[in-house]
């Protein structure tokens, strides 16, 4: 079906450039995870973990049984996934419209507050409002069907700017100490602002469930943080494999934002390319995303002069405007970069990106799955925002809420039990992303992503879900 959530006219699209920038920070952190292992890349850490109950072990087993994505109507209707075994049929236990696990037959236990902190004002509003909108929509739908485990959910959202660490901590403290929230959800655009908050939530044992993650330098994240995105180490490998197998070049240029989160990952990435015999002929740091306006033309010319046969970037803004600049100069080489369904590529680059730009879903969500859960998402958003434009990025926020309610239905409002249950989840298929598996040593549950490319200015699938350690078409 290709691009199920992108059916609205282009004229109504909202360019999510800044959201893309935020996402790029998350993805750049993923790349930075390459440096988490004592300065040397090690993508096999998870697979090599000795514990029999490690996420890698439990993730591998069902995959071998074909359990990753055989998403059928029968399976979706089969009921809930069990936590301990992890190999039974998937399908959400708690989602809008699903009676199992919701509060329809459970005695009411009152209101359960959950909190989020997002940039909701001024020039940064576009970062936070879509996430808040989706989260609230999900909660409203759940509550309309009786809540979760007897609880009626109430979302409390506070504003903080993207880099305001003191403001974010103050908002988080208010949520915990004054509003008495049970958990936090969907704060993944707040990577910088949440630096003190993550410690605070850990200290107070407040679970944090979301699509991406604030800190991806460790797959374990913080003890209370869980993310539906794949581990950071996955992306280090993914970059190299895509260049080798899809771009099929051995001399590349790399362009990246000159910020610590992206710049620090480059030497490790370069070393990993070297292991595969891929030479990085030119590195082009761009001072800031807005500098793409002024600096890309010259950067492209230099990479071209250095003999690059393809370009890798760590940032969707550079991917879009770099490719446009390359087209201006008649330089038609393949590009790869993380864009996660960002409409920046479609709106700004469009047909210019056709066939030469590869990107992926960042593992945050799989918008083209045809499942009951996906239809609930699409129907809900279409009913609430008929003029709006729903993105794969917003679906990630929905996925996080599915995960949250799934576990809440099992454990009730007991934070320790909730966290323990999260760490036992294996191959939980929510119908909207890849199956999720967590463990004490990995709080990033995604295990695959999909390669995309642009055709006629629109995203199309370029691969099946791609997994750790190997790629499969």
């Amino acid at each position: 079906m290709g691009h199920a959530i992108d059916a609205r006219p282009r004229a109504r699209t909202r360019v999510r450039a800044r959201r893309s920038v935020a996402l790029s920070v998350v993805l750049a952190l993923a790349a930075a995870a390459c440096s988490a292992e004592g300065g040397e890349l090690s993508f096999e850490t998870r697979a090599a973990a000795p514990a029999a109950t490690s996420a890698a072990d439990r993730r591998d087993a069902p995959r071998q049984e074909g359990g990753l994505f055989p998403v059928t109507a029968e399976r979706a209707a089969a009921g809930r996934t069990t936590a301990a075994g992890g190999t039974e049929a998937g399908g959400p236990a708690v989602s809008p419209g699903a009676s199992s696990g919701t509060g329809g037959t459970t005695p009411s236990r009152g209101v359960l507050k959950i909190g989020t902190v997002l940039p909701l004002q001024g020039g940064q509003r576009d970062f936070g409002e879509p996430v808040l909108r989706v989260t609230q929509a999900y909660i409203d739908e759940v509550n309309a069907r009786g809540g979760v485990g007897g609880y009626t959910l109430q979302l409390v959202a506070y504003n903080a700017c993207l880099t305001c660490q003191d403001e974010a901590l103050q908002a988080a403290k208010r949520l915990v100490e004054e509003d008495d929230v049970f958990a936090f959800v969907n704060t993944y655009v707040m990577a910088i602002a949440f630096i003190p908050v993550i410690e605070y939530l850990d200290e107070h044992r407040i679970p944090l469930i979301q699509g991406g993650a604030e800190d991806m330098t460790s797959d374990a994240l913080s003890p209370v943080t869980f993310a539906t995105a794949p581990p950071g180490s996955f992306y280090g490998r993914f970059f190299v494999e895509v260049v080798k197998r899809y771009l099929q070049v051995d001399r590349i240029g790399i362009t990246y934002l000159s910020v610590p989160t992206e710049a620090e990952a480059i030497p490790q990435l370069e070393a990993e390319f070297a292991k595969e015999g891929i030479e990085v002929v030119r590195k082009e740091p761009i001072e800031a995303a807005e500098e793409a306006v002024t600096s890309m033309d010259a950067a492209i010319a230099r990479m071209r002069a250095a003999g690059a046969q393809g370009v890798v970037t760590t940032n969707p803004v550079l991917l879009a405007y770099g490719r446009i600049a390359a087209d201006r100069q008649g330089w038609h080489v393949p590009w790869y970069g993380p864009a996660a369904w960002s409409h920046l590529l479609e709106d700004a680059c469009g047909r210019i990106c056709d066939d030469v730009v590869f990107t992926d879903t960042a593992g945050l969500s799989y918008p083209d799955r045809d499942t009951p859960q996906m239809r609930q998402f699409l129907d809900t958003m279409a009913a609430r925002y008929p003029e709006g434009h729903t993105t794969g990025h917003e679906l990630a926020a929905w996925v996080a809420m599915q995960l949250f309610t799934e576990v809440l239905a099992r454990t009730g409002a007991d934070a320790e039990a909730f966290i323990a249950e999260m760490e036992t989840l294996a191959n939980l298929d929510l119908g909207t992303t890849s199956p999720l598996t967590f463990s004490p040593d990995s709080h990033m549950g995604g295990n695959a992503t999909i390669l995309l490319k642009l055709k006629d200015g629109k995203y199309v699938r370029s691969s099946d879900p791609l997994n750790f350690g190997y790629l499969e078409e």
């Binding site: 282009r10 004229a11 109504r12 699209t13 909202r14 360019v15 450039a17 800044r18 893309s20 909701l120 004002q121 001024g122 020039g123 509003r125 576009d126 409002e129 808040l132 609230q136 979302l155 504003n159 305001c164 660490q165 003191d166 901590l169 103050q170 403290k173 208010r174 100490e177 630096i195 003190p196 410690e199 000159s258 610590p260 710049a263 590195k283 740091p285 001072e287 800031a288 995303a289 807005e290 793409a292 306006v293 002024t294 600096s295 033309d297 010259a298 950067a299 010319a301 230099r302 803004v317 405007y321 446009i324 087209d327 201006r328 008649g330 709106d347 700004a348 680059c349 469009g350 434009h389």
Partner: protein, 656 residues
């Protein structure tokens, strides 16, 4: 490749020059260093692309003209609503109002296009971005060429306008001698209105031509605007051809450095800020601007309005009593509100650092947050890397902040007030791109964790500790302000020449103010670090804390220690009291900007100035010393020099 980089660099430089033109125009006519210039251009750009999307039949040229008209209209509206009310105010006030206007315009854009949807822009611009011509192996798009042509044409055209027409003569007359111009019958408001319209249209032109190269959002062009400021200062904010040359030169230098081999190509950002500082220090404008013109522009610069009457300092005893009451209040608060109180006091202390530096000495610094970041990082270095105990870390971090920040003082003492504003922005950027990324100093920009001692673990304990530290510093400042040295600082601000004649060395006192300011900011930074416990240097970015500290100080009243205390209470504590529960409102940005303009238009001394009209509360505050009360409430204490002789206030910047 060098030629190619140069060609691209000139294209980039034309963008800087295009924006710089409007900035120079507005500064000359209204004395406003307009940080809202880019936002005006962005608003017009939104209109341009919205028209193209909503009415596909509309020729791009018509939409372009509509955008220019929008830019002109927004410029006039901004002038009338925001800057006419503060026409007689200080440059600090006008600068802050321009920040408020920028926030308000961004808020309006968010409100309008949250419903309409951000228009997509690529492929519908005036000139195609994906087609161009080859020149020395470089492909230059028509859009980029249009930028260069527009930048040069605009500069030439406006220069002609200013030098060859009656309108230009009137603008220059107003810039050089407003009073004489008024006596000659020049309608000041009408001229200013036209200039703002012209500048708004030029911002729109820049936006429409520039945005197709990048994403459109309310913050577009902000990065380019900083470089445009650098271009403008080449001509001393007076010469348009020099601004053009500055823009082109900066663009070329940036691209040539970017074209250097790695790792030097990563230094282009640092180079730009370093270049700004060098240009400032060598006073490059003297090569482009006549002495008369420079004096005219510089003569109108007054960082803090003078002749406003006295503002209360508060007596040391009153401050100590006040903070003792605050401590009791903290004990009655919940843990969360104790945290909020501590954060409020840290911001008040940051504001106090600006009272000494800007309010008393007249040196406008936009980098208090950067100084605080230095203090916070030093707290981490001293406690984690060197293992010093907490009781030593805070004072040591504060003292160690002084030499690190001395570089700013070194630059500051050599610059005229307007340039210092730009220099501190550049320095803040330089610190962020260099020192704040060092492994040994700021953990490479990653998270830093400091641990409070056990006796300060709770929010109440830390808030009480903060109360004690801040109380001591506010009481000291109140006492210091009454000393001969404190009065000398204010004399340096109001009239350096008279101060020198009175035996006051402006350089010495300026340096003293910077030292004291850095010390306060260092303490605030160290407290900030222990308040958060885990933080990164990104928390101290220019746009994060510096602007907030500056804004709350000016709105509260930057000449009195009471100002930042009042401002911090409103900015941190009251904001938390009235925090919404889940509401999303861009109106807050709009209302904040409007409120800021309202307060400053009513009284340049902000809330303290407004309250001064009801003297009774401050009469109580200062009554501990009748002699001091008489001095601080009846007499213009700023004008009492170290010899005790009173001087007449000089009334400046009044256009009415």
């Amino acid at each position: 490749m060098i030629l190619q980089d140069l060609i691209f660099g000139l294209g980039v430089g034309a963008m800087f020059a295009l924006l710089a033109t409007g900035i120079v125009l507005v500064y000359r006519a209204s004395g406003v260093l307009n940080f809202a210039h880019a936002s005006i251009g962005v608003a017009a750009t939104y209109v341009n692309f919205e028209l193209l999307e909503r009415f596909p039949w509309m020729p791009v040229g018509v939409a372009f003209l509509a955008a220019l008209a929008t830019g002109a209209l927004v410029g006039m509206v901004v002038h009338r609503l925001a800057f006419v009310p503060v026409a007689g105010a200080s440059q600090v006030t006008k600068l802050l109002v321009s920040f408020g206007v920028a926030g308000a315009i961004q808020g309006v854009i968010g409100l309008v296009w949250a419903r309409l949807g951000t228009p997509s822009m690529f492929g519908e611009s005036l000139f195609p971005t994906n087609r161009g011509f080859s020149l020395a192996d470089a492909v230059v798009s028509w859009q980029r060429l249009a930028l260069i042509v527009a930048g040069v044409s605009l500069t030439v055209g406006i220069t002609w306008l200013l030098t060859r027409t009656d309108f230009g003569v009137q603008v220059r007359a107003l810039a050089q001698n407003p009073m004489a111009a008024r006596l000659a019958g020049i309608d000041e408001r009408r001229i200013e209105r036209r200039v703002w319209a012209l500048a708004g249209a030029s911002a729109a032109l820049a936006g429409v031509l520039l945005v197709p190269f990048g994403p459109l959002n309310p913050l577009s062009l902000m990065g380019v605007q900083l470089k445009a400021l650098a271009a403008a200062l080449v001509g001393g904010f007076a010469s348009l051809p020099a601004a053009l040359a500055g823009g082109l030169g900066l663009g070329a230098a940036q691209e040539l450095v970017a074209g250097a081999p790695a790792p030097f190509n990563g230094l282009s950002g640092v180079l730009a800020t370093a270049l700004i500082l060098v240009l400032l220090l060598v006073r490059v404008e003297r090569f482009f601007v006549s002495e008369q013109e420079a004096r005219a522009v510089e003569g109108g610069e007054r960082p803090v309005a003078a002749g406003l009457g006295s503002v209360p300092l508060g007596t040391p005893r009153a401050w100590l009593v006040g903070f003792a009451v605050a401590a009791l209040v903290v004990l009655a608060l919940s843990g969360f509100w104790a945290f909020v109180a501590a954060r409020t006091l840290v911001y008040a202390l940051l504001g106090l650092s600006l009272v000494v530096l800007t309010g008393w000495t007249g040196q406008v610094s936009l980098m208090p947050g950067t100084f605080a970041g230095v203090g916070a990082a030093l707290a981490w270095v001293l406690s984690v890397r060197f293992g010093y105990p907490f009781v030593l870390v805070v004072p040591m971090a504060a003292v160690a902040t002084v030499p690190v920040c001395a570089v700013a003082g070194f630059v500051a003492l050599r610059l005229r007030p307007l340039y210092l504003v730009v220099a501190t922005i550049a320095l803040a950027g330089l610190f962020e791109e260099t020192l704040f990324r060092q492994e040994w100093f700021a953990n490479g920009g990653r998270a830093m964790t400091v641990t409070r001692p056990s006796w300060l673990e709770g929010d109440h304990a830390f808030a009480l500790f903060t109360v004690a530290v801040v109380a001591a510093l506010f009481a000291f400042t109140a006492a210091f302000g009454r000393t001969r040295t404190g009065r000398a600082l204010r004399m340096v601000r109001d009239n350096p020449t008279a101060a020198a004649a009175g035996g006051v060395n402006p350089t010495k006192y300026g340096l003293l103010a910077f030292t004291l300011s850095a010390l306060y900011a260092g303490v605030a930074g160290a407290l900030f670090a222990y308040l958060l416990e885990t933080f990164s240097s990104a928390a101290f970015g220019f746009l994060v804390i510096s602007l907030a500290a500056f804004g709350l100080s000016v709105v509260g009243g930057i000449r009195s220690p009471i100002g930042p205390m009042v401002g911090a209470f409103g900015f941190v504590f009251l904001t938390e009291v009235f925090r919404g529960s889940g509401g999303v409102s861009d109106w807050s940005s709009v209302l904040l900007g409007a409120g800021l303009v309202f307060v400053l238009a009513r009284d340049p001394d902000g809330l303290v100035g407004l309250a001064r009209r009801f003297r009774r509360p401050f009469g109580w505050f200062d009554r501990s010393s009748p002699a001091e009360t008489a001095q601080t409430t009846e007499e213009p204490e700023e004008w009492e020099g170290p010899s005790g002789a009173e001087a007449e206030p000089v009334v400046v910047m009044s256009r009415d």
